[in-house]
């Protein structure tokens, strides 16, 4: 039984090894690295876009339920009465966007306008190459630079966003692009600083090594996830906030605020190019969630080191945690209204940045006190060192409701 689960756990790896073994027989030597890369890429290109497709339906259904509506539940298998609870919707949407006319504005810079969605999607897909999806399952293991590669490639999406906004020659596109740049640049700093704590503690930039570092066990059953440390707990929520802003998710979706600037930087895109923007946005969110899982939620490790949980294949744990985070983001989208630009910037620079800096100090303290203080003293001390600044910094952002005085009406 356990062996079977172990086999299932390593199934993608063994499958790839088997295919490579078969192909080695009759393919020339120089093609083998390319074939190996193609085989590694295939599951990424299959799983995550499918997950995006399902997320669009689940998101619409979830938001509908949050707003006391039913949500999409009609589209199933065509020409039958089978409705599949509306999960045929994404296929219909995909076909629709494929056969829609591709309208390019006459004044647009045609080349840049064409390249922008592609230049957005490629870096987003590249970020997946360093994420460890399961035990021994990382397409590109960069032992020295994994995390750095993720952020470097992820940051280049900003250029594509501005390409789209600038080349459209539309005021709304340009507004959206400028908002996006301002927001992404501002939130990249807390995003990277909150991840740096993990690098400080583990002493490595390799994402596989970071997952391995969380495999230690507390009290005999609790895995040593970074989430269970004070700096990890705070760091994870700081990371999630910054990730939401990086991925243009509500409440930080100003770059594509429908009520203000139509669709922001992709206003002038239609048909499949629009779908590519949509896809890139969701894949970016999934990649950010995947990084958050790798850094703080133990990657593909189960939460408890007890028998039935460890049997479940590691990639199932990764996808399960990813789904949970996606649900959290849908829930947040159904709850929070959009911020104003000044609130967005104020929040990044006056709250997130100081908190991440304090978190760095606390992580350093946590590391230095590891031998001199027992866990039960170290934990509350470090947590208090984060909770007090949180309270102090947060005071400025609370909604101030005072009774309104109507001087002339009274």
């Amino acid at each position: 039984m356990v062996e079977l689960f172990a086999k299932l756990d390593q199934f993608p790896v063994t499958l790839k090894a088997w295919i490579m073994g078969v192909l080695q027989g009759f393919l020339p030597e120089w093609t083998l690295p390319l074939v190996s890369a193609a085989i590694s890429i295939t599951p990424i290109l299959a799983v995550f876009p499918l997950m995006f497709a399902l997320t669009t339906v689940i998101e619409r259904k979830g938001l509908g339920r949050i707003q006391n509506r039913i949500g999409p539940n009609r589209v199933g298998i065509p020409l039958t009465d089978i409705r599949l609870w509306g999960f045929g919707q994404f296929i219909a949407d995909g076909i629709k966007s494929l056969i829609k006319e591709d309208v390019v504005p006459r004044a647009a810079d045609k080349v840049v306008h064409f390249l922008a969605p592609i230049a957005l999607l490629i870096p987003v897909l590249l970020t997946y190459s360093v994420l460890p999806f399961g035990r021994n399952m990382v397409p590109l293991d960069l032992p020295q630079t994994g995390l750095l590669f993720f952020f470097a490639v992820g940051a280049s999406t900003e250029l594509s966003v501005f390409m789209a906004g600038w080349s459209s020659r539309n005021k709304y596109s340009l507004f959206g692009a400028m908002r996006a740049i301002a927001q992404m640049v501002s939130y990249e700093i807390p995003l990277i600083l909150s991840s740096l704590t993990v690098v400080m503690i583990t002493g490595t930039l390799s994402l596989t090594a970071i997952v391995q570092s969380q495999s230690g066990v507390h009290f005999g059953f609790l895995h040593n996830w970074h989430l269970f440390t004070p700096w990890g707990l705070v760091g994870f929520f700081l990371f999630l906030t910054a990730a939401a802003a990086e991925a243009n998710r509500t409440p930080f979706d100003l770059p594509e605020a429908e009520s203000e600037i139509i669709a922001g930087y992709f206003t002038e895109y239609s048909g499949f190019k629009f779908a590519l923007f949509f896809l890139a946005e969701y894949l970016g969110l999934f990649a950010m969630c995947g990084l958050g899982i790798t850094l703080f939620l133990g990657g593909w490790l189960p939460p408890l080191n007890i028998a039935p949980l460890t049997w479940i294949p590691s990639w199932c744990w990764f996808l399960g945690k990813l789904s949970a985070l996606i649900v959290l983001f849908i829930w947040l989208r159904g709850t929070l209204p959009r911020l104003r630009t000044d609130q967005l910037m104020g929040f990044a620079w006056k709250f997130l940045l100081p908190m991440t800096l304090i978190n760095l100090v606390v992580a350093a303290l946590w590391y230095l006190l590891r031998d001199s203080l027992p866990l039960y003293a170290r934990w509350p001390l470090c947590f208090a060192m984060l909770a007090v600044p949180y309270w102090l910094l947060g005071r400025g952002f609370e909604a101030k409701f005072t009774k309104r005085e109507y001087r002339f009406a009274n």
Partner: protein, 231 residues
Amino acid sequence: MLGTGILKGMAVTAKNFVGSYHDSEHPLTTSEYPEQRIAPKENARQFPFLVHDTEDAMKGLRCVACQICEKECPPQCIYIVKSKDKRADYKGQMQLYPVTFDIDLSVCMSCQICVEVCPFEAIKMDTEFELSNTDRFGGLLVNKHQLAKPNEHYRKIHPTEAAVSDASLAVEVAKAQAKAKADVEAKAKAAAEAKAKAEAAAAAGPIGTAPTAPAPKPTAPAAASAAPPAA
């Protein structure tokens, strides 16, 4: 503290989410339209229809082709052609009737002014809204056959309004009947008086021209006696 508001909000949305599956406290505000239908509200209105009273819709149309609605219609979507002949309306009065009565629903803006100006309770607002049509010109130009609907339909869709309308029509009918009765009585009286006078004249002497001149006189008081119920 910062964040408590977010948590409260998330609790509210979670409650809504779960509640939407158990229809007790948070019933869904939408329904699945073609299968589930909400009964139309009494105040609902879409486009006008013509009320008729008898089995044969065309004979019982209340419309007398006075063309007030046609003239008052702001978007000019009504087209009426008057008849050459007359026929008895519900009161028994001889009236014209519409040979053609068309409404272009693509133009109509559902303002209800035609209903408000109609002195004959002949045009009312319908609640029918499933009017989609593949012919956007001819299909939305409806004629009097399509517009005619019985008074029972009106009573069904707008019961309160229909009761008021029926009551005012009943008053009109009663008035007409009272007037007709008074007319008949007056006529009989006048005839009796004329007869009496003629007899008296015949008894007095053969003056042939005398009875014709005083004959209209008694009808004036008869008309006056019929007037008070009208006021």
